[in-house]
Subunit: 134 residues, 2 copies
């Protein structure tokens, strides 16, 4: 079962400008900024209700986010759903014919375990399932 | 203040196929389907936590969603934020330099009042503010 939308990942060229937009235009305070070396991104998080906006700025030209920006421009990069039963969700998705990017969960930010479904199997929305083990 | 993400609007070519995806791959039951004549779309809603996924299929070639699909293919169309203070949010956005599509709220689905910010002002994410008057 998917408990909630954990976060929306949004690719931006300039983190600082986009943070100012969310703070000043949207009126949402930034919770934290974090560099994720393994993904080559600098991120900023904003809480909205029980979910988060995660802004993603590439820290190098070979970052996956740099490639996304080159192809698509700024905009939504992925939607992440929180589940207490990550392996079961992945199994259900695969059995229903969905193409998975990660058949096994990989480590994500904030101590989470995550796995991506392929956007060609998810109606154009790159989809992440994530969980946090106790 | 933005209370929560009200819904994510996702443009799809075939509503029935996409509904089957959300039900079978994601394991989320469809809450309701609804034709919105004024927007020339057929929609399906899914609850996830305190927000919703809204799938949007065009009902004619001149639907805004048909144009979106032609240009971008399937994928996220807009992010809608719920606020109890729609006019104040719009004023704050405009004063912070954001370009608005609707300077005054217009009627939306489910008896809501809605207004869109321009994606050129919102880092590539078409953004809706919505509220429901008591």
């Amino acid at each position: 079962m998917l408990q909630k939308i954990d976060h929306l990942g949004i690719a931006v060229k300039s983190l600082d400008e986009a943070v100012a937009h969310y703070e000043n235009v949207m009126g949402v305070p930034c919770e934290k900024k974090e560099v994720i070396e393994s993904q080559k991104v600098r991120t900023a998080f904003f809480a909205v209700g029980d979910t988060h906006i995660e802004l993603l700025e590439p820290t190098s030209d070979d970052s996956p986010i740099a490639k996304f920006l080159e192809k698509n421009g700024e905009g939504l990069h992925h939607v992440a759903y929180y589940t207490d039963h990550l392996e079961e969700q992945l199994k259900q998705a695969e059995e229903a014919g969905c193409r998975l990017i990660n058949r096994e969960p990989v480590p994500g930010a904030g101590g989470k375990r995550i796995a991506f479904l392929h956007p060609k199997s998810t109606y154009g929305v790159l989809t992440e399932f994530c969980t946090k083990d106790e």
